[in-house]
């Protein structure tokens, strides 16, 4: 009841302010009249009575104010008034407001955008049912440089049979199918799964059904499920697609499968697949190679924790089971491979690649926020000092220091609120750009939604900034110099303020230095990657994906078709040389794993060593000529190396050196010894004669490593998949005629992804380039803000010291000396910032180094260059104020105060 009365009083006081004020006035007036009447009644003359009453009453105004204070509403209306006043002040200082707003918008916008990204990619739960029970299991062989070796079917069966803390396992093999029957024939990235997979993943269909146990095993009908993205984008959400039949070809004869359903939108992992099929669609999955080959690893393993089991329990059990497995099959787990099993939550697995990048981004945007706040703090500090006169007057008129703070806070809130608003507006497009960038690290970034979190983050940052900024300026109240400021009413800069200004400028420079050094490191890496000489005529070499298709043809017909395709392309004007290969350099890196084990005539491996591994490539005659790789000894493959003739190989230079050590490798033999091969029927494991030695061609790494490669003739294996064309003209002008030729010969032959090698490299480097762009952008913004900050501090310091400069000039200082003085002052701040930034950056890198394994530290040159850039920027920033100092008019300066 009492609370209600209070509130109603307060509301009345607030909204019927005038009426309440009038009542108060009347009440006090009546009191005065009573007093006067009493005095007249006591015998005083009316005039004297009135005067006496007035004197006795005291300050009418202060009583009135005190009564109002008692109503406790003043702070609301005062705040409204403060805000209005703040708005007026901000409007009056348009330049200051614009710079501060822009800086804040940038700082708050970048942080809001990146936070949205981090939340969407790292923190949002997956759509999968009980996603916190879903784990991903991997096998590593660090000794072979493999973080994820995948699993073989026998391994999965062992794990499935013994591990109890994981209720169910589902497996998934990534495979490229040449798909015919749904639009243009093309290669679709696909997954081949067992009947458990979707149950384990806890996903639902949006149309039709998903694959289950009835689709498992070799007897089932071919069935595929489309992913949501594929269905909505390529098929335009066509519901009649259910029941359609497609022909799928991978390793082995083509298979037919019908479309049974469409998967709900979910994070595609491990690969961004377009369809998911049951095992019968891939004959390879049913072959002995796959089913009995313990080292034939191409399957990923997912699991759902048993009720009550924890991830740690599952990990421990998996490790124990795995140790037994390794003991029982020692031949499949060499010492050198250093095999281990690991398990983690699927969500963590999916986001692991993006985590580092996003956290670094978050740190960078945090730096930007610090820089932005320091800069605005500087601006506000400088302005408050200029306003010292005004603040002194208000303090003298009775404003408490709380009231002054409140005024400043209101102004800052207004400023930061507007900055946040602007920031959130700019954050939306920033999120779109950043999401495209982050999608290279995590597919989750693709379906990022901008939600209210961003507003909250923006508002939160604004409040933090405003409160920080309100407590920065020194208030005049209670200071000895108060009388002084009151009388002079001009700027009087004190040591404390100056120090604070400098500290903020130094903080800005330090933070910018960290960003600049980081960005420079990325630029340097990118430049060095881009300028690597490959020896290939990369702008003239066109590569196209042309997977080998065998449907309805004998091996001889297949060979004849490709031979004719090559002949016709060779006849096109502008084609210098055409050939078939098996990997697009860089783009297909890692597609064939770590290579196959082999040995060579006369090679004796050291005790305890395994046979070496070599990259396995099939090429048609002319491959080396097309790419400009010289044949150092012997000959290239030619028309005579047919499927019916003697099997031959060409080896790379490094292989020749390592395996033959000075002896002539020509006409000696290599022999494949890899255990995987014994399961592949028909592969030659007899010694194969070496007919040539080619220069190293590392098609896996941008920075070329020594290449240990064995080339076999395309016609002897009929396995290729990539077309290489060395052109005399614009290579892209050849894409249409080549595609036409291929389709004339075989209408169902996919020809896709045409690109010159130069563009392939650019495409492979694009994450690096994007990294560089984003961090470079951050660094530039930071640099710009820091330069404005330094210039602002010096400009302020110069204008506050006009009198000092005037005196200096009057007693004979040269303008040049003043100029140098100010520039030195700027350079000193720059230097201090660089030192602080260097130390802070080092500490930060240490800290980060303990979280991330592959931390790169910028080299000395990068650091020095960044320091020079920053120092130069501060000197330039101080030039303008310095010039002003040098132009000070002596007479005016002396008269100024």
């Amino acid at each position: 009841m009492r609370g209600l009365t209070k509130i109603s009083h307060r509301i009345r006081s607030l909204f019927r302010r005038d009426a309440v004020d009038a009542e108060l006035d009347e009440e006090l007036k009546i009191h005065l009249e009573f007093e006067i009447q009493q005095k007249i009644a006591a015998g005083m003359l009316p005039g004297a009575a009135r005067r006496a009453a007035m004197i006795e009453f005291g300050g009418l105004e202060s009583v009135r104010e005190e009564c109002k204070d008692m109503r406790r509403v003043n702070w609301i209306s005062d705040f409204v008034r403060d805000v209005a006043f703040g708005a007026r002040m901000l409007r009056k200082n348009a330049g200051f407001t614009a710079i501060a707003l822009l800086t804040l918008a940038l700082g708050i916008g970048a942080n809001a955008a990146i936070f949205t990204l981090v939340r969407g990619v790292l923190l949002r739960p997956l759509v999968n049912r009980d996603e916190s029970r879903l784990i991903y299991i991997r096998q590593t062989a660090k000794g072979l440089g493999m973080d994820n070796q995948l699993f073989s079917v026998p391994e999965i069966e062992d794990i499935r049979a013994s591990v109890k803390s994981v209720k169910e396992f589902g497996d998934f093999s990534t495979l490229g199918f040449t798909m015919v029957g749904l639009g243009e024939p093309r290669v679709v990235q696909s997954g081949v799964v067992d009947g458990n997979y979707f149950e384990v993943m806890g996903l639902r269909p949006v149309l039709g059904r998903l694959l289950d146990m009835r689709d498992d095993g070799p007897k089932a009908e071919g069935a595929v499920v489309l992913t949501y993205r594929f269905w909505t984008t390529v098929l335009k959400s066509d519901p009649t697609v259910l029941g359609r039949t497609v022909r799928l070809e991978s390793f082995g004869p083509p298979q037919f499968a019908s479309i049974v359903g469409v998967l709900e939108p979910s994070v595609p992992y491990p690969a961004d697949t377009e369809l998911i099929a049951n095992v019968v669609t891939s004959p390879h999955h049913l072959s002995a190679t796959m089913v009995t080959g313990r080292v034939h690893r191409m399957t990923e393993l997912f699991g759902r924790l048993a009720p009550g089991a924890t991830l740690e329990q599952a990990r421990a059990e998996l490790t124990a089971v795995y140790a037994n497995m390794v003991k029982d099959h020692q031949e499949s787990y060499s010492k050198k491979a250093d095999s281990h099993i690991e398990a983690r939550l699927l969500r963590d697995e999916i986001t692991s690649r993006a985590r580092t990048v996003l956290l670094v981004l978050l740190a960078a945007s945090g730096l930007i926020f610090i820089i932005a706040c320091s800069n605005v703090a500087n601006l506000i500090l400088a302005r408050t000092v200029r306003r010292e006169g005004e603040l002194s007057v208000r303090s003298a008129l009775g404003a408490t220091s709380g009231a002054l703070r409140r005024t400043l806070l209101a102004e800052n809130l207004l400023l930061c609120g507007a900055g946040a608003l602007l920031g959130v507006i700019t954050a939306r497009p920033m999120v779109a750009i950043l999401a495209r960038y982050a999608s290279r690290f995590s597919v989750r970034a693709l379906d990022l939604k901008v939600d209210s979190t961003m507003l909250w983050v923006g508002a939160g940052l604004a409040v933090v900034a405003a409160v920080l900024l309100a407590f920065i300026p020194r208030l005049p109240a209670g200071h000895a110099s108060q009388g002084n400021s009151l009388t002079s009413g001009s700027v009087r800069i004190t040591g404390g303020t100056k120090r604070r200004l400098r500290v903020f400028a130094v903080i800005q420079i330090a933070a910018s230095f960290v960003l600049l050094a980081g960005a420079s490191m990325l630029v340097k890496t990118l430049v060095s990657l881009q300028s690597i000489q490959t020896g290939m005529d990369m702008r003239r070499i066109l590569t196209l994906d042309m997977p080998t298709t065998t449907y309805g043809k004998t091996k001889e017909q297949v060979v004849a078709t490709y031979r004719e395709i090559l002949r016709r392309i060779q006849a096109l004007p502008g084609v210098q040389r055409v050939a078939i290969g098996s990997l697009t350099p860089w783009r297909d890196a890692g597609a064939f794993g770590p290579g196959l084990q082999f040995t060579a005539d006369g090679y004796v491996r050291a005790a305890g060593e395994e046979d070496p591994r070599a990259g396995f490539r099939t090429v048609s005659p002319g491959f080396f000529a097309s790419l400009g790789v010289p044949i150092l000894e012997g000959r290239d493959f030619d028309e005579s190396d047919r499927s019916t003739s003697e099997p031959v190989v060409i080896i790379s230079q490094t292989l020749a050196q390592r395996m033959f050590q000075g002896r002539d490798p020509l006409n000696r033999h290599i022999t494949w010894t890899d255990p995987v091969l014994k399961f592949i029927p028909g592969i030659k494991i007899d010694p194969i004669r070496i007919v040539g030695i080619a220069a190293d061609l590392d098609d896996e790494h941008i920075i070329p490593n020594p290449a240990v490669t064995i080339y076999m003739p395309f016609e002897q294996l009929t396995f290729g998949g990539r077309l290489f064309v060395h052109a005399n003209t614009d290579p892209y002008s050849l894409v249409a005629p080549i595609t036409r030729i291929v389709h004339e010969m075989s209408a169902e032959q996919p020809v896709e992804h045409a690109a010159t090698l130069a563009d392939v490299r650019a495409e492979v480097l694009s994450p690096e380039r994007l990294n560089t762009f984003v961090f470079g952008g951050f660094a530039l913004v930071a640099l710009a803000i820091a330069v404005v900050g330094v210039a602002g501090v010096l400009a302020f310091s110069v204008s506050a010291r006009t009198r000092e400069f005037g005196i200096r000039l009057a007693i004979g200082a040269q303008p040049r000396q003043l100029l140098t003085r100010v520039i030195v002052e700027g350079a000193l701040m720059g230097g201090a910032g660089i030192v602080v930034g260097g130390a802070g950056g080092l500490a930060l890198a240490r800290l980060a180094g303990s979280y991330f394994q592959d931390m790169q530290m910028p080299g000395a040159i990068v650091v020095v260059v960044s320091a020079i850039v920053l120092l130069a920027a501060t000197v330039i920033a101080s030039a303008l104020p310095a010039a002003r100092a040098a132009r000070v008019d002596v007479i005016q300066a002396l008269r100024a105060e």
Binding site: R2, T5, L28, Q37, F57, G59, E66, C67, M70
Partner: protein, 109 residues
């Protein structure tokens, strides 16, 4: 003329409440009565009286209403609310206890 600070903090509130417990009164009358009853010892300054009245009203101990005064003038009359009555009784008990205690201390030889 005694300043508000000469009064023990909170006593002015109690005096006001006590005066209007008898009958509703306007500000000037309250000040007059305190003076008369205390035989001119306690003189309440307007600068203290009105803020106190407004505070008490804000807190809900007293209620204000405009009415006619004895000499036909409009004036703002303050009266005690039910909550205010309880509050006053509590405060008065407090005061009695406190003044007795102080008296005991001062009376010791």
């Amino acid at each position: 003329m005694s300043k508000p600070t000469d009064l023990v903090q909170g006593t002015l509130d109690l005096l006001i409440l006590k005066i209007i417990l008898l009958e509703p009164a306007h500000g000037w009358a309250i000040a007059q009565r305190i003076r008369q009853i205390s035989k001119d010892v306690l003189q309440v300054n307007q600068g203290a009286l009105y803020p106190a009245l407004h505070r008490l009203e804000q807190q809900g101990w007293i209620a204000a209403e405009w009415g006619e005064s004895e000499n036909n003038r409009r004036a703002k009359y303050y009266s005690l609310t039910r909550d205010g009555r309880k509050y006053m009784q509590k405060e008065q008990a407090n005061w009695v206890r406190l003044s007795t205690a102080i008296g005991l201390v001062l009376d010791t030889e």
